[in-house]
Amino acid sequence: MIGRLARTARTSRILSSIAAILLIAGCTNYYEIAVETPIKPKLDVSAFQRVLVAGFLAGGTDDVDGNLETTRLLRSQLRTKSELRVIDTDVLPLMEVAAEEVGATEAKAEPARTEPAGEGKSEAKTEAKGEAPQPATPDKPATIKVSKDLEPYEHIFANVEYWKKIGEEYQNPLIVTGTVMFTPAARSGIVQREEEIYDSFGRRRVVPVRTYMERKGYKLAPKFIFIDGRTGTVMHSENFSEEVLYNANQSTPALSSYFELMDRLIPSFLSTLSSQKIKGTRVLLQ
């Protein structure tokens, strides 16, 4: 009698489990489907047939020439992934151009400084002069270590006449320029990593382990500026920042870190100029 009751209870449990599974399956009819989301470009570049990646104000580590590498990389990416014709030309030494401008402005301002003024005022001017960046020369390039050091040179992007002249020279293209800071970064703290362990039976397990680690790497912070070559005016600008850190014992060349970080930024850069398709999957429901 007890055995029969137990069997009945077991059977009813199995039946109710099956019913629950059928109910869930019946309620949630879903279909996974591939989607390709087209992303419209942020900038309307339909007026341009050509693009000139002119060059960048660059600073940070000496191991990578931020101006040259960024110009080369963006040109090659635009050549394959945009409909604009990429102009091949020498990279503009923007730092020197900007430094020359600073020099010219200071020379113009010089007579005003020699005019009689109060003692306090002339002191303030001397201080300001002391903070001004040292102009870059072919023998002695300016030392740009932090992004603040770039600020005195950034007026070049607002120089409409300069960019208009460049535009005329290359038949009114879209001009891509900006700043690139590629600096070493170091951080220490608790990091979670996975560790393989084997028990007494030789079975492998992966467990998360939290350890204190010193990490070193690089930070890349570019600002891309898009200039209308017909008018010399800035159309759009965009800031990015990416960082990569490795175990302090690991020796990773600066150039490979630079490319690793640029690789992350390139899709966003390209989506400013050309339409992109982002592939993914979604779930359709009934």
Binding site: V35, T37, I39, V234, H236, R282, V283, L284, L285
Partner: protein
Amino acid sequence: MRTWVLTALFLVSAAAAPLAADARADAKKQVEFGITVAQRGLWREAIYRWERATQIDPTYAEAQNNLAIAYEHEGDLEKARVAYEKALELAPNNALIKQNYELFKEINDRTTRKDSQDIPDP
């Protein structure tokens, strides 16, 4: 008088229930057809079907979800956002809709980054 009111209320609710069920059944047919055509890559037809489904039954969260996916596929991100939000409003605990919305948001946030600046024409 009270009996009359109660009877009238009963009749109205009794009539409304099958109507709602009919609406859902009609909407479901549209949704099913939409899924079939979307699987064949006919997304515009799918949009038409799912829009019809949401008109027939505005409380149909699954139809809103599908419509959002179709808008996303067509690159109409603003309409997709509205449809996803509507779907989640109707079915806040649906994990699949939530998952779709999270994936959509990743793309949408990329296109509406705040650290970019458009400089207006002078």
